[in-house]
Symmetry: C2
Amino acid sequence: MKTDKDDIQTCGYTIIHEDVVNDVREKMLADETIISLAEFFKVFGDPTRLNILYALSISEMCVCDLAALLSMSQSAISHQLKVLRQARLIKYRREGKVIYYSLDDDHIRQVFAQGLAHVNE
Amino acid sequence: MKTDKDDIQTCGYTIIHEDVVNDVREKMLADETIISLAEFFKVFGDPTRLNILYALSISEMCVCDLAALLSMSQSAISHQLKVLRQARLIKYRREGKVIYYSLDDDHIRQVFAQGLAHVNE
DNA sequence: CAATCATATGAATATATGTTCATATGTTAT
DNA sequence: ATAACATATGAACATATATTCATATGATTG
């Protein structure tokens, strides 16, 4: 016959430290928050996007320049710029046919720097 | 006939601002660095791993507790813990059959906090 | 308005990745 | 040793994602 302890098992395994789990459960972040956070970091999790962000942290640039700089197709760059735009990490201004992209705010530089600090340690 | 400017094109499109591109090119990070950085951020780019990291920032926990807390299989948690271990974001200690996981250092909390600040703004 | 240039985008493809399932490993207790 | 438990892991599968290709859009110039 099942005991009370068995009833709180969730994954087919008995919870070993029920008090800890209950305590932590109360403090966990909302699913929505976690998902937003994951999406935010995911944007930084690609070499092409990091290169673009780093380049734009030095100077604003147009799509064609970025493509040349990174030796990639205009289309590939454009697709990634869309991702960065949707994540509100970059902004742009139009000047005739040319569109100049730049970082949305200095906040991005800080995230970048913090990541670099970890990688270089 | 082609001009000199056409020769420096890389992606089939002419570089518009050669001076800017050359300047930025000198300052770009090494490929290796960018790849490490992308891998670092990629680890944060998954809701399950974020939940685990956040839970461990509150208290050390064993695999079974984490599985119960997140209503996920022991296997799924274990696989993700492996990713977090390889990224050196968590450490563990053994006590009999139970293995307790915890954050590797406070640095992780800072990255987490910075991401949260961006998401909540 | 026709041609050209800079950029954007949809579809297709190849690769990466998260979870499940089954099973293995390592530890403890009987 | 054997059983039971906590965790780890390899293979399979389903989904996500980065790039390419072809083409569309929007702006300028002749």
